[in-house]
């Protein structure tokens, strides 16, 4: 375990700066520049996690963001802990703490590992098949399923880090800073385009940067050295911005992309203070060049998932880039030339190679000759049929492949090893391209999907475009860039390239075995434990669509979205079902490409910045007077004002009694206010309200009901005629913005001929409502020069006046049924006017009341609240408000719908009053209403919409909607509750002062 597997100096590791970190609570050392994965491998730690379903030991498999196995939990504290982080992407820093996931009690001894032996009982679709019956057992199953579901732990305390969002606009965005991305960025920037180059890794240069052999040369230099010079050059370019540690998460239409930029994740915790952790970049690019490279394919054979089995390209990167040997007895298994590149790197670093197993027969390849020179045994035409070793691979069994590749022949040869590199060729990383809506085509010769048609101004270059060899990349890029950027020349016109790679490949999606498939475990999706066996079972059970097979077997549904195995799943389906690869299609790659933290997604919109809220001009007064607030739309409204020891019920009862017995005062500033002017203003109101407006005199107010075109109640409020061509409309608090939008819509699109102008003035005024039998006395003290006699200022009328020097509009309107006044003043005078009213009302026990009391008082009067007593299925007729629907008007919004066959039915739900037999019993709002308890199934007639205990009537009152309720006056109904049935009687919805005497007293 404590073996050191560092080899000759890695050029990219700072060996002078030693870093200590903890993995599974044990201390290890690495160097600055290491990833968690490279540092663990240097310490000979391969086993890092357990698989999801069978809890099989799993090791590091890759060296990049495609990693399926090595996902760890970072940080131990409850606020920062971060789940499902890929060890291959974590840069180590002093004090880093990481632990394995999905294992208990430890990664070395995991009780769930027993699932591995039960695996014949856990086939694809196991959960669907097993937990179907009996249905009543679901609650018991659920407990266990939930326990075994999910990876990692969530933080339990708020995230202390800072996140932010940033918009970026650029001419050209280049995604990926490998050799193709570097050349593209340089060309774009030098041609005068404002260019942004991003890469998910901390360094530039992709996999070419550590290519250091004379078998791959550009202009007579080793390709790595050539690229290094290019990188040094582009760093000097003025109109090129370079962002590393920046992963593009999503590529949407119209070249809109989201990227996550990590700023401090590589720093020790104590250096992170007050710095932004991650940024979500919202990039709008005129042109996009995708240069995301390609991902090496694994090979699919029995037990291909043991720790110590890595992608061959990953072994190369660990040796070349990090100076780490993944094993001391390495074997490589390949079907193409790439593994020989790895072999050459290992030879250069003095790392032992036991053997190379090549699926192909003899191939004429410079790379192979170079390896053979070093006396390395190559088994040509062979394959691995099985591996051994539980927590780490210790051997492979190999056999010869038949000519057609369908079988293995001859006898088994066992070879011992401590590391197996596998190479199944390369898959272009087309994920972002397809997210943008791009269509793929299948290239038969090497079995890859490559971009076909672009939905926006973008191209793919390099290996993500199917140019998998150095010479092809260089050859094609200049031409593509010239065409795409519409430029005359690039720096890459006459470049000499030497690539020693032979293109031949022997692609076998599922390598044959000497055992029947049912006895093998050839893993395709390592993270979700989906095997080739599961895919074949799904096909036998009748699944055909790739999307269905995916969901049934969960292939590609892990946090890695099957970056490694998806192609094999497709290949096996294609072979088994006899459908051509190109015709099968692919599954959909969805954003994000790699997981995003929630912090990055929400940015600064946390805590009080989560959503906008609006305060009235009187907000501070309410706060100072102990108000509790409720959210109404975006508004904070005073809900009730509890006095010492009062609970909500007691406060509301006191406020309600005071308002009816003497005087109450309410902040009504949140009501929507729309200023309407123009010569056609009256005609406009006629069209939008159900009642008639032409004859409303100047200085008068009228209540109006607004419908949707379908006849359903949309909003209500009082509108006042201020002048010949001037009205002020009030709307409900929550409906204000929508009403404004709807009115504008009709004016602009249906009735552009009307001369009407609308202005939202909700925030311009503070609205103070004073009600109760003593309201008149109070207002006369506040506005002494206003004549309040009924003759001069009757109910439903309005006066312009002033309070000292402050102009005000006073309306005598009432939502409580009491004699009341509403004073509108410019918002910034609101508080002083409110305080004047309080002062003037002191002798009358003027009582501030909140929205809860307002609701209670209006319910006593049977006034509806749109949105509480209505739900977009109620017509005015359903509400028993026939009186407000004009019979004379030719048309208004929604009129025609009021006599559709459905709206004239007698048995629609209609608004009624409900009185409980026991006057102290208060109904629950939302409770169901039924007539016959014995009927089965029970027939639901409606529900309770508003319910209160009325202190003024000394009994419980409620409003509700009941099927055919209008004709049920006096009838007994039942409200069935969990523990009892409550008997109610249908009544008139107006409970108090039906004659409206109080309004004029």
């Amino acid at each position: 375990m404590s073996k050191n597997l560092r080899v000759k100096k890695g050029k990219f590791i700072d060996e002078t700066s030693r870093v200590s970190f903890k993995f599974n609570r044990k201390k290890f050392y690495g160097f600055k520049g290491d990833t968690l994965a490279s540092a663990l491998l240097a310490n000979n730690v391969h086993l890092v996690g357990r698989s999801f379903k069978y809890h099989r030991p799993r090791g590091i498999m890759t060296a990049g963001s495609e990693e399926p196995n090595a996902i760890v939990q970072l940080h131990n504290d409850s606020s920062r802990t971060d789940a499902n982080v890929r060890a291959t992407e974590v840069e180590i820093y002093e004090g880093l703490e990481a632990t394995s996931q999905n294992c208990w009690p430890s990664v070395n001894f995991d009780i769930g590992g027993i699932n591995n032996f039960f695996s014949p009982l856990l086939p694809a679709g196991f959960y669907y098949k097993t937990f179907m019956w009996p249905a009543s057992f679901w609650e018991k199953y659920e407990y266990f399923i939930r326990k075994s579901a999910g990876l990692g732990k969530s933080p339990t305390r708020p995230d202390p880090d800072i996140y932010e969002h940033r918009y970026i606009h650029c001419d050209v965005l280049v995604i990926g800073a490998g050799i193709s991305g570097i050349m593209a960025a340089k060309t774009a920037a030098k041609s005068g385009f404002k260019t942004l180059l991003v890469d998910e890794k901390p360094n530039l240069g992709g996999s070419t940067i550590y290519q250091d052999t004379n078998l791959f040369k550009i202009n007579n230099q080793n390709s790595g050295s050539w690229l290094e010079k290019e990188i040094n050059e582009i760093k000097k370019l003025k109109n090129l911005e370079i962002k590393t540690r920046t992963s593009v998460a999503a590529f949407h239409g119209y070249n809109f992309l989201l990227a996550r930029e990590s700023l401090i994740d590589h720093l020790p915790i104590e250096q992170r203070k007050n710095k932004t952790r991650q940024r979500l970049l919202k990039i709008r690019a005129k042109k996009v060049i995708t240069a995301t490279g390609s991902i090496e394919r694994p090979l699919i054979f029995d037990n291909n998932d043991r720790p110590g089995i890595l992608l061959s390209s990953a072994i190369k990167k660990y040796a070349d880039f990090f100076g780490v040997a993944c094993g001391e007895k390495n074997i490589l298994l390949t079907n193409n030339d790439s593994a020989y590149e790895t072999a050459i790197s290992l030879i250069q670093k003095g790392i032992n190679i036991e053997a190379i197993i090549d699926n192909r027969e003899s191939i004429d390849s410079k790379l192979i000759y170079e390896v053979e020179k070093n006396n390395i045994k190559i088994f040509k035409g062979f394959t691995v049929v099985n591996t051994s070793g539980y927590k780490k691979i210790n051997g492979v069994s190999i056999m010869e492949l038949s000519k057609d590749g369908q079988k293995v022949i001859g006898s088994k040869i066992n070879l011992s090893c401590d590391c197996l590199g596998i190479s199944g060729g390369w898959t272009p990383a087309v994920h972002l391209f397809t997210q943008s809506g791009g269509k793929l085509q299948f290239r038969d010769e090497d079995q890859v999907f490559i971009p076909k048609t672009y939905p926006s101004d973008q191209i793919s270059v390099g290996s993500c475009n199917g140019d998998l060899e150095l010479d092809k990349i260089i050859l094609n890029i200049s031409k593509s860039l010239k065409e795409f950027l519409n430029i005359k020349k690039t720096d890459y016109e006459n470049i000499e390239v030497l690539s020693s790679m032979n293109k031949s490949k022997r692609n076998i999606w599922l390598l044959p075995s000497d055992k029947i498939i049912g006895k093998t475990k050839p893993f395709i999706d390592y993270q979700n434990d989906a095997t080739a066996k599961d895919i074949k079972l799904a096909l036998r059970e009748g699944f055909r669509s790739i999307e269905h097979v995916k969901r049934y077997t969960t292939t590609g549904m892990g946090t890695d979205q099957g970056k490694l195995g998806n192609m094999h799943a497709l290949g096996i389906i294609s072979e088994t079902s006899g459908t051509k690869m190109g015709e099968l299609g692919t599954t959909t790659f969805r954003p994000p490409y790699t997981p995003l933290t929630f912090g990055t997604i929400v940015g600064r919109n946390v805590g009080e910045y989560f959503d906008i809220f609006r305060k009235t001009p009187l907000h501070d007064w309410h706060t100072n007077n102990n108000a509790e607030f409720e959210n109404v739309g975006q508004w904070k409204r005073a809900w009730y004002y509890p006095k010492k020891d009062e609970n909500m019920h007691q406060a509301v009862q006191r406020e309600s009694k005071a308002a009816r017995e003497s005087a109450g005062i309410l902040d009504a500033s949140t009501l929507g206010k729309i200023d309407i002017q123009g010569t056609d203003a009256s005609e406009f109101l006629n069209r939008v309200y159900t009642n008639a407006w032409s004859k409303l005199a100047i200085g008068k107010c009228r209540y109006g009901l607004m419908l949707n075109e379908d006849g359903m109640v949309y909003d209500d409020g009082v509108t006042t005629r201020l002048g010949e061509n001037h009205y002020i409309m009030t709307t409900t608090t929550g409906g204000a913005a929508n009403v404004m939008g709807k009115l504008e819509d009709y004016l602009q699109t249906e009735w552009p001929e009307l001369d009407v102008y609308l202005t939202s003035v909700t925030d311009h005024y503070a609205t103070i409502s004073v009600c109760g039998p003593n309201s008149k006395k109070i207002i006369s003290k506040v506005i002494p020069n206003l004549d309040l006699t009924d003759e001069n200022f009757p109910h439903m009328s309005f006066k312009n006046s002033n309070i000292e020097k402050v102009k005000c509009r006073v309306m005598r309107i009432s939502f409580t049924g009491e004699h009341s006044y509403e004073i509108n003043v410019q918002a910034n005078y609101g508080k002083s006017v409110w305080e004047k009213c309080m002062e003037a009302g002191r002798d009358f026990n003027i009582t501030p009341y909140g929205t809860e009391t307002m609701h209670l008082l209006r319910a006593e009067k049977g006034f509806i609240i749109v949105g509480q007593d209505t739900d977009a299925t109620m017509t005015p007729i359903d509400l028993q408000m026939d009186w407000i629907v004009s019979k004379k008007k030719y048309d208004f919004i929604g009129k025609r719908s009021l006599y559709r066959s459905d709206t004239i039915k007698d048995d629609r739900k209609q608004l009624v009053g409900l009185l409980t037999d026991n006057p102290n019993e208060v109904l629950e709002e939302g409770a169901q209403i039924i007539a016959d308890i014995n009927k089965s199934p029970v027939e639901m007639l409606g529900h309770v919409t508003s319910s209160y205990y009325s202190p003024n009537l000394n009994k419980s009152i409620a409003l509700g909607v009941v099927r055919g309720g209008k004709n049920m006056m006096g009838q007994k109904l039942i409200i069935p509750m969990e523990k009892k049935n409550i008997n109610v009687t249908v009544s008139d919805p107006v409970f108090l002062d039906k004659e409206n005497k109080r309004l004029n007293d």
């Binding site: 949407h252 239409g253 119209y254 809109f256 709008r284 809506g437 939905p455 075109e709 379908d710 939008g741 504008e744 819509d745 602009q748 699109t749 249906e750 552009p752 030719y890 048309d891 009129k895 025609r896 719908s897 559709r900 066959s901």
Partner: protein
């Protein structure tokens, strides 16, 4: 997220706009003359095309003006933008 070229403000992000459904459905001048079926046709029936669709949009977080666009719903390409009351362009 697409970009919409508001005929009054110029090119802006989709998030500034509100979609308003199918365009060129004129509110009947004499609703009372219509049968239930005719009224229902106006009120409820909307096309949902994969391909070229004429749509109403509102620059709700901008100039608040309504206008029409022609959009290919299969790839969100906007073929034309034109003011209310103008004849739909040929596409």
């Amino acid at each position: 997220m697409f970009l919409i070229n508001c005929p009054f403000c110029g090119e802006r992000e989709q998030s500034e706009f509100k979609a308003g459904g199918e365009a060129h459905i004129v509110r009947p001048k004499q609703p009372t003359e219509l049968s239930d079926d005719e009224w229902a046709e106006y009120l409820f029936m909307r096309k949902n095309i994969k391909g070229i669709q004429f749509e109403r949009w509102n620059h709700i977080h901008g100039c608040r003006k309504w206008f029409n666009i022609v959009r290919d719903t299969s790839n969100d390409e906007i073929k034309a933008v034109y003011k209310m009351g103008k004849k739909p362009p040929l596409v």
